[in-house]
Amino acid sequence: MKRRSLMKAAALAATFGMTAGAVFAQEAEKKVIGVSIPSATHGFMGGLNWHAQDTIKRMGEAYPNIEFVLSTAPDAAKQVSDIEDMMATRNIDGLVVLPFESEPLTAPVAAVREAGKFVTVVDRGLSQEGIENLYVAGDNTAFGRVAGQYFREHLEPGSKIVVLRGIPTTLDNERVDAFQKALEGSEVEILDMQHGNWNRDDAFTVMQDYLSKYPEIDAVWAADDDMAVGVLEAISAANRQDEMWVVGGAGMKEIVKRIMDGDKQLPVNVTYPPALISSAIEMTVLNFMSNAPMTGRFIIGSQLITPENAQQFYYPESPF
């Protein structure tokens, strides 16, 4: 309902435009879409930033009367200011937002929605339900479960594994809980779970210490490809490559390439595509440009990348 009245208002504004000058009458009404995402602080976000820019360029060419405002924020406070600025100075019609944190962003995004804008929330849900028109996200539970099932099926009973966790967040908890649940009842023992913060250097350090601490490790769930790179380096420095394999996550191109080449140390990977921002932006554009309904929840599944299907997950141009 709100949206329809907004359309009316926009149509009215367009009529005013027409009376102001006949030239403008030819142009369809301009729509401005704000895109607010965290800045590229680690590999996954780098990929997400790249896909956001790429999609905006592509959509801008395909739909000349859609205009985009992209802002990247290093923290939640900056993101709130960005969104306020978009509302105050750019008069956006739609907002695509990947909240840095759920709590602090809930009220500002709710205000955007109350102003009658189309709101798309990506990946991290707000802490209150029903604010957004469209929710696009990866499936964190499946991300952990798919990895857990692979460990369960491919390890002998009595095997020992170590886990590297990300930055302490609900997202990380969901993944780890699902992973542990998938392993429940199997004879696979999780020796340790420490935070590698989705960072290569931190993961390297944590893995070195795991290797000093545990004489027997059969597999590592690195849960992220940046961390997997650090883990692999630590393993090869300790010369224990033949002893264990590593499963990362998110589908970084270098890792996918190694799976494609049949690397024994990296048997599989689990997707969590940074391109999910592209789905969100394109669906928001279509909301304005087509009659197809674009509201609801759109959950992108996590798939297992194996040497057989790796080709279709390989994007050589993306930085991630």
């Binding site: 800045s39 590229a40 602080t41 680690h42 590999g43 976000m45 290569r200 000093s212 993306s318 930085p319």
Partner: protein
């Protein structure tokens, strides 16, 4: 005199206590492999912290070193990848990369130093600014992703981090040399005396015919050089650099300097204390990983408590001295 010894011994006592604690908690703590790991990973922060000791002793501060290291690592990787086709896959290319890192470090240090001494801007503000600039530049160079060294070059360059004489790897050797030279410079060179003099009172130093601006500039140049050197040893470890490289290294370096007994307000510098401070910080991390003492969520809290405790112990002893 005896009391003075006591307070300078503070950090060493803490270090010894940590070593004993580590050995009691896990038998693999004292294994050569673990010792190599801890010392080698301390080397980057360690070399930077030795440079930082001079900057802080002269009454300055540098917040940009972590970002600078990331930026230099990015530059070195880009340079090596760029000259690879013409120079080939050999040590020449790697030497060019090392040269870029060291020269870049000197230039970056000069920029910081010149803005502070010539444009007379507060060091905190200058380096807060350059911290943001270097961090953004490396993210921009990497297009938000990761800069990676070509595979062949990596294999060739790798032994610089992992190789060495027996279990004493090159980063450990470099760190030791930097620490010894730094200690000698601080204690026994004219430059060291001038640095301390400027830090305790720069006006008096100026009236004593010390070229205050030049000496201060030199401290930032020295720090830039050491950041470059740390980068040379960092790049072969993972062969990559990204926006998340070297995050918070500046604070670790500053914390190590202060734990080691250098005064944050300047005037007294203790290079060997800094080395002990760096080792304390790495050991805390290592012990927390090796022993499941607390929830990993609390690791940061434990580090915070130990840092504050180490400084509090010294402070109490220092006021006792003054009494």
């Amino acid at each position: 005199m005896k009391r003075l010894d006591l307070h300078t011994l503070g950090p060493i006592v803490a270090l010894v206590a940590l070593v004993i604690l580590g050995a009691l908690l896990n038998s693999s703590f004292l294994a050569p492999g673990n010792i190599t790991n801890v010392l080698a990973r301390s080397a980057f922060i360690g070399m930077i912290a030795v440079g930082m000791t001079f900057v802080i002793t002269a009454g300055g501060l540098d917040l940009s070193v972590g970002s600078m290291a990331a930026f230099l690592a990015g530059l070195a990787i880009i340079a090596m990848n760029a000259v690879l086709p013409s120079v080939g896959e050999n040590w020449g290319t790697i030497l060019i990369g090392m040269g870029v890192a060291i020269l870049g470090g000197l230039i970056a240090g000069y920029v910081n130093g010149a803005l502070i001494t010539k444009a007379k801007i507060e060091p905190f503000i200058v380096t807060l600014g350059t911290m943001g600039i270097f961090r953004s530049l490396v993210t921009w160079l990497a297009d938000g992703g990761t800069l990676s060294l070509e595979y062949g070059l990596r294999t060739l360059y790798r032994p610089v981090y992992y190789g060495g004489i027996g279990w004493i790897t090159w980063p450990i050797i470099a760190f030791a040399v930097v620490a010894i030279v730094g200690e000698l410079m601080m204690r026994h060179s004219r430059f060291g005396r001038h640095v301390e003099a400027i830090g305790s009172n720069d006006r008096v130093a100026k009236y004593s015919a010390i070229d205050v601006g030049r000496v201060k500039l030199m401290t930032y140049l020295l720090l830039g050089l050491l950041v470059g050197l740390a980068t040379v040893l960092y790049v072969p470890r993972l062969g990559s650099a990204s926006g998340s490289t070297g995050v918070l290294w500046e604070l670790e370096a500053i914390a190590a300097v202060i734990i080691g007994g250098t005064a944050l307000k300047g005037g007294t510098g203790r290079v060997w204390g800094t080395v002990v401070g760096v080792l304390i910080l790495s050991l805390i991390d290592n012990i927390l990983n090796l022993a499941d003492l607390v929830s990993p969520y609390l690791n940061g809290a434990i580090q915070g408590v130990i840092i504050v405790l180490a400084v509090v112990l010294q402070r109490e002893k220092r006021t006792a001295d003054e009494r």
